[in-house]
C-alpha cells in the first residue's frame, strides 16, 4: 500500500496534518478540537448527516456544513463553535430543536449521567427552553424484545440503531415508520427484535431511547464501576466492560478492541451475565450421602474429602476439562494432578493445532480480505458470532465470501470438509487457484470439531497462505479457551497419559464438561466422581463430591481466543465461594506441590513455558496478537472421511448460540432459544409433502422426536438440521414424515 498523501487542515486556528480523506471529526480530534456528534458513527457506514450537531463553518462555503460528512482536504480552514459565532449558533440551534420534543426526564432516565445528549446540551446547548407547547407523546416504553425497551419520546432520530440493523448485523428488523416529527423507530411488523446482535443498539443509542430491560432503573452512572474484562462465552473473546454495583454485575458493555470485535457484542455475551445469580447456583461444597441425596459440608471438610479421594485414586484419575477454565486454573489442576500424583490422563475440551500459529491473523483481517472461504458444517454465527459480523463487513467492502457446507453457497454433505480441503488444495481447483494467487485470502474452518484446526492449516499451507502477510487461516473452536486449557495442561509435565482401567476417580472440571455426554459415560465407569460446577442439576446426582465453580465474570486470569491472543479476565465481582485457584493451591500443598493461589503468579509459571515469559501485567487492556510462528508444524492434508451410508436424510445437529448453562438461566434470553423445529430443504419437503409449519416426526432406529418443519432454502437436499437441544438421541440418519 502506498503512503497516503498528507494534507494540512486548520481547525480553530490550529493547523494539523492528517492523511487526505480523513474524516473531519477525526481531523479535528487530531487537532485537539471537538466536533460534537450524535448520528455520526463510522462503524455504521458512511456518514448520514442527519442530526446536524456537527455544523461547522468552512472557509469558502456560505452555509454551515455538517462536519461529519466532510473529509480533510489540503488548505481547508474550519471553525467550530469555539471560534465561530455562526457555528456556535448552529450547534445551539440543533440542540434546541432536539430538545423541543424531548421529555427531559433525565432524573428518571437510565442514560442520565452518561448521556451524550445531556453532555452536549451542557457544552453547546441553550440553558433554557423556549418551547411552550405540549410536547409530542408516544406510547412508552415499548418492549421491542424481552431484552430491549424503546422510549420513543426520548428518541432523537439519529438512526444509529436502524443503520446498525440494516448495515452491520444486516438483520433489517429495526425500521423507521411514519414521517417528520411523527417518525419513530419500530421493529419490522412489530415482531420482537430477534437478531443475534440486537443489544448493540442500546449502546449505540446516544439518548435513553433504547434501554436494557435488565438494567432499567437499577443503577446510576456515579454509583457503578466498569471493570474491563473479556467475555468467556465463546472463542472470539470480545472485550467487555462489566458494570457492577454493590458487588453484583448489572450489565455488560462492549469495549472496542479494533482487531477482535470492533466494539460489537452478541446478545449472549451482553445479556447472559446474570447467570451467576441463578437460583440453582452452588455456593457450598456438596457431598453425596447414600439414600439421603446431598449434604453441604464445610470447606475444610471438603478439602479433606478431596484429598482423601485423590490419595485413594493415585494415578488412576481422569480429568475432564471444559475449555472454559482460565489458563491458570487448567495449569493449577495439571500441576496438582500431574506433578503431585502423576495422574496424566485427561479429556481435553477439544483438539487444538499449533499449525495455525504460522497462519495467524487478527480477526479484523477478515474485513480487509479479498476472498474468504468458509469450510464446514456449523453456522459461523452460532459458534463465533462476531466472526459473522467481520464476514458481513468484508462482503460489504467487496470481498467475495464463499461458504462450503450443508448450508453453504456451495452445498456439500455434512462431514465433507476434509474432502473440500483436499479439493481446494489441488492444482487445478479454480477457487483454490484464486486463494493461492490472492494477496488477502483467508480460509476458515467452522466445525465439525476434532482435527479441523490441523486440516485448515494444512489447506492454508498447501495454498501458501503462510507466506502472504494479509492471508491466513482461522479455526472456530467449540469452547472459549480450549486452546489455552489444552496448552496449559500439557505444559505442566511431560508424563505420558495412560488410560487408567478401572477409573478410580473422574474429575469433572466445569459445567460444559458435566453436560458432555462423553464425560457422563466415563462417570458410569468411574468409582468416584469429583465435580467442579456452578449449577445444580449438572453433576449433582452423579458426583460424589461437588465443589462450587465460578463464572468468567468472577475470575482473574487469562484466556486464549481463537486467534491465539492471550487476554486478561478480571474479577468483576467476588464469587459466592472461594475460587478454584484458592482451594487448588491448598490441596496442592498437601501433596507437596508448590502452587500459588494468585493468578498472576501462576501465569508467570505458565508464561515461562508457553508465552516466552510475557508478564501478567504486560497484557494490555486491548491485548496484542503474537506474531506468526516461524517453526509451526505443517500437517499433511486430511484424508477424506468415508461418507455415511444408509437410507434416510442426513441429520446435521448444531449448537445454537443461545444454548448452554448460562443462557438457560437467563429469563430474558429464553425467547432467543432455538425453536423446536427441523430445517428441511424445499426439495425434500416437496418430495415428502411437508410444508413449512407442519408438525413432523423425525425418526431414527425406534426413537421419534416431534418437531415443526421449517423450510430452509440454503440447506442442501438430503440434509435436515436440528438444534442439539431438540435432537434428543437421534442418530446420523433419520426419516422425516408428517406427524
Amino acid at each position: 500500500m502506498s503512503t497516503p498523501e498528507l494534507v494540512t487542515v486548520t481547525i480553530d486556528d490550529r493547523a494539523v496534518q492528517v492523511p487526505k480523506g480523513t474524516g473531519l471529526v477525526e481531523t479535528a480530534l487530531a487537532a485537539g478540537v471537538e466536533i460534537p456528534v450524535f448520528c455520526y458513527e463510522p462503524r455504521l457506514g458512511p456518514a448520514v448527516g442527519a442530526c446536524r450537531m456537527c455544523l461547522v463553518e468552512v472557509e469558502g462555503m456560505p452555509k454551515l456544513q455538517a462536519g461529519c460528512t466532510l473529509t480533510a482536504q489540503d488548505g481547508m480552514t474550519v471553525r467550530t463553535a469555539q471560534t465561530s459565532a455562526k457555528a456556535a449558533d448552529g450547534q445551539n440551534a440543533t440542540l434546541e430543536f432536539l430538545l423541543v420534543n424531548h421529555p427531559l426526564d433525565c432524573p428518571v432516565c437510565d442514560k442520565g449521567g452518561e448521556c451524550p445528549l445531556q453532555d452536549l446540551t451542557f457544552r453547546y446547548g441553550p440553558g433554557r427552553t423556549r418551547m411552550t407547547f405540549p410536547k409530542l407523546t408516544f406510547d412508552k416504553p415499548i418492549p421491542i424484545s424481552p431484552t430491549i425497551a424503546l422510549d420513543r419520546e426520548r428518541c432523537i432520530l439519529c438512526y444509529r440503531c436502524t443503520r446498525f440493523s440494516e448495515g452491520v448485523s444486516e438483520d433489517g428488523e429495526l425500521v423507521t415508520v411514519n414521517r417528520g416529527a411523527q417518525s419513530m423507530i419500530a421493529t419490522f411488523e412489530d415482531e420482537p427484535y430477534r437478531g443475534r446482535f440486537s443489544g448493540n443498539v442500546i449502546e449505540l443509542c446516544p439518548v435513553g431511547a433504547l434501554t436494557s430491560t435488565q438494567y432499567r432503573f437499577l443503577a446510576r452512572p456515579w454509583e457503578i464501576q466498569n471493570v474491563p474484562s473479556v467475555c468467556g462465552l465463546c472463542p472470539v473473546g470480545c472485550n467487555i466492560d462489566v458494570t457492577t454495583r454493590e458487588g453484583k454485575v448489572k450489565r455488560v458493555l462492549s469495549r472496542n478492541h479494533p482487531e477482535v470485535d470492533e466494539g460489537w457484542l452478541c446478545d449472549k455475551g451482553r445479556f447472559a451475565f446474570s447467570h451467576p445469580h441463578a437460583r440453582d447456583r452452588i455456593t457450598e461444597p456438596l457431598r453425596r450421602v447414600r439414600r439421603r441425596g446431598f449434604e453441604e459440608l464445610s470447606w475444610d471438610d471438603a478439602v479433606d474429602e478431596a484429598e482423601r479421594m485423590l490419595r485413594a485414586a493415585g494415578t488412576r484419575i481422569v480429568t475432564a476439562l471444559s475449555g472454559s477454565e482460565t489458563i491458570e486454573q487448567a495449569y493449577a489442576l495439571g500441576k496438582l494432578l500431574r506433578q503431585g500424583l502423576g495422574a496424566h490422563a485427561a479429556v481435553l475440551p477439544e483438539e487444538t493445532s499449533t499449525a495455525l500459529d504460522a497462519l495467524r491473523l487478527p480477526l479484523s483481517a477478515i474485513r480487509d480480505a479479498e476472498l474468504v472461504v468458509v469450510v464446514g458444517d456449523q453456522p459461523v454465527e452460532e459458534r463465533a458470532p462476531v466472526v459473522d459480523l467481520w464476514l458481513r463487513a468484508a462482503r460489504r467492502r467487496g470481498a467475495e465470501i464463499v461458504t462450503i457446507g450443508p448450508t453453504g453457497s456451495i452445498q456439500t454433505p455434512p462431514g465433507s470438509a476434509p474432502q473440500v480441503c483436499r479439493d481446494l488444495a489441488a492444482e487445478n481447483n479454480e477457487l483454490g487457484r484464486r486463494l493461492r494467487g490472492g494477496q488477502r485470502s483467508i480460509v476458515i474452518w467452522s466445525g465439525p470439531d476434532g482435527r479441523g484446526g490441523e486440516h485448515i492449516a494444512a489447506l492454508a499451507h498447501a495454498l501458501g497462505l503462510a507466506d502472504v502477510a494479509g492471508s491466513g487461516a482461522f479455526y472456530l473452536p467449540d469452547t472459549p479457551n480450549g486452546r489455552g486449557v489444552a496448552d496449559a495442561w500439557s505444559a505442566v509435565a511431560d508424563g505420558e497419559p495412560a488410560d487408567p482401567e478401572p477409573i478410580a476417580l473422574l474429575i469433572v472440571s466445569g459445567d460444559e464438561a458435566a453436560a458432555n455426554p462423553g464425560v457422563r459415560a466415563l462417570a458410569e465407569r468411574a468409582e468416584m466422581v469429583l465435580a467442579i460446577t456452578m449449577f445444580q442439576g449438572l453433576a449433582v446426582g452423579w458426583a460424589d463430591l461437588v465443589l462450587p465453580g465460578t463464572s468468567y465474570l468472577e475470575r482473574d486470569g487469562t484466556y486464549m481466543n481463537l486467534e491465539g491472543r492471550v487476554q486478561r479476565l478480571r474479577r468483576t465481582v467476588i464469587p459466592p465461594a472461594p475460587d478454584e485457584l484458592a482451594w487448588l493451591a491448598k490441596l496442592a500443598g498437601r501433596f507437596g506441590v508448590e502452587l500459588s493461589p494468585h493468578p498472576s503468579l501462576v501465569f508467570e509459571d505458565v508464561s515461562a513455558r508457553l508465552f516466552g515469559g510475557l508478564a501478567f501485567a504486560d497484557i494490555a487492556a486491548t491485548a496484542a496478537l503474537p506474531t506468526r510462528a516461524k517453526a509451526a508444524p505443517r500437517p499433511p492434508l486430511p484424508e477424506p472421511e468415508p461418507q455415511l451410508g444408509g437410507d434416510g436424510l442426513r441429520l446435521l445437529r448444531y449448537r445454537s448460540l443461545f444454548s448452554g448453562a448460562a443462557v438457560e438461566r437467563v429469563a430474558e434470553l429464553q425467547f432467543q432459544r432455538p425453536a423446536r423445529e427441523v430445517e428441511i430443504s424445499p426439495e425434500d419437503a416437496a418430495a415428502k409433502g411437508i410444508a413449512s409449519g407442519n408438525e413432523v416426526a423425525v425418526r431414527h432406529n425406534g426413537t421419534s422426536v416431534a418437531l415443526r418443519a421449517t423450510l430452509n432454502r440454503r440447506l442442501a437436499p438430503g440434509v435436515v438440521r436440528i438444534a442439539d437441544e431438540h435432537a434428543g438421541d437421534l442418530g446420523a440418519r433419520v426419516e422425516v414424515g408428517r406427524a
Binding site: 420534543n101 407547547f133 416529527a181
Partner: protein
Amino acid sequence: MPLRELVLEGAGERDLTKLGEYREVGGYAALERALGMDPGKVIEEITVGTLRGRGGAGFPMGRKASLIAKGSPNPTYLVVNADESEPGAFKDRQIMGTVPHRLIEGCLITAHGIESRSVFIYIRGEYLHEFEVMRAALEETRGADLLGGITIVLHRGAGAYICGEETALLESLEGKRGQPRTRPPYPPITGLYASPTQINNVQTIATVPKIIELGGAEFAKIGPQNSPGTAVFSLSGNVVRPGNYELELGTSLRELIYDIGGGVAGGRELKAIIPGGSSVPVLTPEQLDTPLDFDSIAAAGSFLGSAAVMVIDDRCCMVQLALRVSKFYMHESCGKCTPCREGTRWLVQLLDRLEGGQGTQADLDLLDSVCARMLGRSLCALGDFAVYPVSSYMEKYRDEFQAHVDEAGCPFGGESSVEGILAPVDQHSHHKTVEVPA
C-alpha cells in the same frame, strides 16, 4: 406576449398521446437525428442550448451530463423526476398527460447522449391518469420498435413530497425509505444503485427533442440569454383563467397574470404573488414587472422554482396562508434531519397560536428566530422551503403579523379566504392503486 409552445406544441390541436399522431407532427424525428450523432455531440447541443433544469434549481442539464463519471464499472442510468409535488405546480402532469411521447423521445435522446441503457421515470403516485397515459404511450413505442434496446421503467411513488428531492427519489427507487442522501457524492458520480446517474425533471427532458430539432445554437436564441427556452407556467390562485401556459422565459409576471390569466378574479386587488411554487419567497404587486426567468426572479429575491405562479388577492390573511403552507411542510418533512423535522412542527404551533389570537410579541420574535435557526441548516432544501414562505410573508406583511398580536386575533375575522390558493393538507388526494390486469 403569445404562447410559445415547444414542449406542449401541437397538443391543443391533436391527440398527441397517440404515437401515430405524434409522428405526423414530426415526432421521433429528433430521436432519429440524435441516433445519427455521436453521443458527445448530443450533450454538446444541450450544453450550447443552455438548457437549465426545469425542476426548480435551474442547473444546466449539459453541465450535469458532463459530470457523469467516466469509466465507471457500473452502468449509467437516466432518471426522470416526475414526482411533481410542489403545491401549485401541475405542469409535468400536463406534459405526461398530453405529450407523453415527447417525454419518451427526450428520454431516448438523453439516454443516447449519456450512453445509458436504462431509464427510470419516477411518477408521483397520485398521478394515476398520467401514469396510465405514459404506460400506454410506452407500450406503443415498444411496439413500434423505437426503444432501440433501451429499457424505460415507469415507477409510481407512494405519496411523499420529499421523493421529489433527487436523492430521496433515488433512495425510494432503490426500494428504501424516501429520505435524502448527504451530498457529495452527487448523483452523476454515485446515484442510483451507486452508479453514475443523470436525473432531470420531466419538462427538461421533454425539451430535449426540440433542442436536437433546432440545434443548440438556435434554441439558445429563444428567450433571455441566460435562461433560454420556454417554461410551462402553472398559473393558479385568485386569477380569472388559471391553467398551464407555456411561455418564453423572460415573460413578465404582469403579462402572465393579466394578459394571459385575465387578472385577479372578481376584480379584487392583487396582494401577493408566489412565483415558483409554495416553497419560494413571496413577491409583492410592486414586483409585477419582473421577468419570469431564473436570474430575474432571483434578483427580485425569490426563485423561479417549478414555475408555479400563484396569485393572491386582498382577501387573504398572510398568517393563515403561512399556516396552511407550514402544515404542508410539517406533513411532508421526512424526519431525517433535526432542524426540518422539529422546526416545521414548531412553526405550525407558533402560527396556529398567532392565528388563534393567543400569540404574543415573544411568539412573533420566536417565529423569526426559529426561521433563522432552520434556514440553511437542513440536510436538503425542504427545511429551507418551509422557512422561505413564513420568513418572506413576515418580512413583507409584517403589519399583518403584528396585528394578530395587537388585536389578539385575526384582523380578517371570518372574511379571510385562502381558498383556491392552496388546498389544506388533509385534502391532499391519497395514493390510488392500479388495477392489475389478470
